[in-house]
């Protein structure tokens, strides 16, 4: 039986799925669309919620809210990261008390400021930044990292941070994985990565709480229907895909592939008790991937 509300497990929780993009730019920083046009694009595509996350500045998007479309205040914060020698890129959501970030803030302070507002912080595009699990060692207070960042994929071939994520899960601990567009409206990156959040209603508080608990999955297209842990096995049900992968520590996972010309919609995988953590990846016939959050075992 699924323990509803288990960290990292959105399946079996009452409520519904909400689709959202949590990393978006506009002409308020280096994006090519105005805030209104950026928001309208996601509204037209049927998204349920959006965070505009311009660099170093909060953009007021409250005027774009509708009963069926939520905007979440957000910002991409930057400052020195002594561990990489680069500026950090931390996405903060739910910010209420400051309109600009300060480039003098270290990572810890940026995260603390966001959390102090009741918000959440996650790490933008670690592969593109050269940020590895080692660089994140000892850093706390962030909910996850971008396992997929569309613009980094489209423009730099460094959009997938699954290697970094698995290293973190193996060496450091649990953290969630997010897919985002990081839309700049320049490279056809929009609409390629989003989160599906499980919540009882479409509100800032509800969405942020779900993100904090890992009650979401990330996708470039394929949908999960259910992922259930019953102690001795994990059962996955999903849209038709060409592979269902059980990702675990080192070589303790598995990969099921559809037969030639066919598709998979279900996997029953026995657990051995040595996995340490399990997360599920699926990939459809167009190469689009979806990721559940990890469960510690």
């Amino acid at each position: 039986m699924t323990a509803g509300g288990h960290p990292g497990d959105p399946f079996g929780i009452p409520g519904r799925w909400y689709k959202g993009n949590l990393h978006t730019h506009s002409t308020n920083s280096d994006g090519a669309k105005s805030p209104a046009d950026a928001v309208a694009w996601y509204q037209d595509q049927g998204y349920d919620f959006l965070a505009l996350t311009d660099h170093r500045v909060l953009t007021d998007t409250s005027g774009f809210r509708r009963a069926d479309f939520l905007t979440i205040p957000g910002m991409e914060l930057h400052g020195p990261d002594p561990t990489t020698g680069e500026n950090y890129h931390i996405v903060g959501l739910g910010i209420t008390s400051f309109e600009r970030s300060n480039d003098a803030w270290l990572r810890e302070e940026a995260i603390a400021r966001v959390n102090g507002d009741g918000g959440i912080a996650f790490m933008g595009h670690p592969y593109w930044l050269g940020q590895t699990a080692a660089h994140l060692q000892g850093l706390t207070g962030f909910v996850g990292l971008e396992v997929f960042n569309s613009v980094c994929d489209v423009h730099r071939a460094k959009g997938f941070s699954n290697e970094t994520w698995d290293a973190y899960l193996l060496e450091q601990g649990l953290t969630w994985g997010l897919a985002t567009d990081d839309s700049h409206w320049k490279y056809a990156e929009e609409g390629r990565g989003w989160v599906m959040v499980r919540a009882s209603d479409l509100s800032v508080v509800g969405v942020l709480a779900a993100l904090r608990k890992g009650h979401f999955y990330s996708t470039m297209g394929p949908a999960f229907e259910d992922v259930r842990f019953d102690g001795s096995q994990v059962i996955v049900r999903c849209a038709p895909v060409r592979r269902i992968s059980v990702m675990a520590a080192r070589a303790k996972g598995a990969n099921a592939r559809a037969p030639a010309g066919g598709a998979l919609t279900e996997l029953v995988h026995p657990l051995k008790g040595v996995e340490r953590y399990v997360r599920i990846e699926i990939e459809d016939h167009q190469g689009r991937v979806a990721w559940t959050n990890p469960r510690a075992l």
């Binding site: 930044l129 050269g130 980094c152 730099r156 460094k158 290697e163 698995d166 080192r250 070589a251």
Partner: protein, 298 residues
């Protein structure tokens, strides 16, 4: 332990021919499902120019399969406990002269040293699958490269692609080459999905080993890379028709180029962004098969 000759990591300036090979495979001499004859024969019949049969902990004699058009190199996959990893290490040895077997008592350093002392090269297999990151590798000297793609790890664990680990190593620790290999166990349809294209003056064991040390090869799942020229301002790439050509560099200092609708790319002229540290090229065809050049210091 890389060579220090001319054109490090650049096979495109080397006179000679391209030779296709797989440097990681198993037989019933360890945990492979096919006997040696069938395993080696599979590659020879498909036009590969060379292989190394790398059974676990044992060197299998493949000399009888050699022809003027097909070279076999001595090979072994060694393993033992790695305290730095708190888990098992795996290392490939290729081209040894006398070694017959490995011992799980050997540290990874000793395993590597024995291969090198015996004239061979050391390759780090499937780092993502092992749970090795760049830091774990940084303390180990003397390997020529790592598997940026391992077919059986992709097939069985979805952990075949180690591109981010490679880039982390190149960014933070030094130069090392990237290889693609099947790691054929003849159980998961992994064979024929990853190989190296070595540039050498002739098809001979010492020439192949020299090329592996110098980085005179590229790795592929299908696409052919015809030429890569790095100048102070540009990176010029020529390749078989693909949907994507990417210039990879430290962190965000590279760029990707996509084929426009309905067409294919066969080359790019990339304007360099500067401060790249290193440059390598990846291409991907319309079936999702990729090829990787070796990095060059810039």
């Amino acid at each position: 332990m890389h060579g220090d000759g001319a054109h490090l990591g650049d096979p495109f300036k080397v006179d000679g021919a391209w030779y296709r090979g797989n440097l990681h495979m198993h037989s019933t001499a360890s945990d492979g499902a096919w006997p040696v004859e069938r395993a080696v024969g599979w590659y020879r019949e498909r036009g590969y120019h060379f292989i190394a049969l790398t059974d676990h902990r044992v060197v299998t004699d493949t000399a009888r399969f050699r022809t003027p058009e097909f070279v076999t190199l001595a090979g072994i996959e060694m393993d033992g406990f790695d305290p730095a990893l708190d888990s098992r290490y795996y290392l490939l040895g290729v081209g040894m002269r006398r070694m017959q077997a490995s011992s799980t008592e050997w540290s990874r350093e000793e395993a590597g040293q024995r291969v090198r002392d015996d004239g061979g090269v050391v390759i780090v297999p499937h780092p993502y699958w092992i749970g090795w990151n760049a830091r774990h590798l940084a303390g180990m000297a003397g390997f020529v490269g790592l598997e940026v793609f391992n077919s059986v790890c992709e097939r069985t664990q979805a952990k075949g692609d180690a591109g981010a680990i490679w880039d982390d190593y190149l960014d933070n620790h030094g130069l090392t080459w990237g290889l693609a290999a099947d790691d054929a166990h003849w159980k998961y349809q992994e064979e024929g999905r990853g190989w190296v294209m070595v540039r050498a003056p002739e098809l001979a064991p010492d020439r192949l080993l020299h090329a592996l040390r110098q980085g005179h090869f590229y790795a592929s799942q299908g696409p052919a890379i015809v030429d890569v020229r790095i100048s102070p301002d540009t990176v010029d790439v020529a390749c078989s028709p693909v949907r994507r050509i990417s210039v990879l560099a430290a962190r965000m200092r590279g760029r990707t180029y996509w084929a426009q609708d309905g067409s294919a790319l066969t080359g790019i002229a990339h304007a360099r962004l500067g401060a790249e540290k290193y440059l390598r090229v990846e291409v991907e065809d319309t079936q999702g098969r990729r090829a990787w050049t070796n990095p060059q210091r810039v």
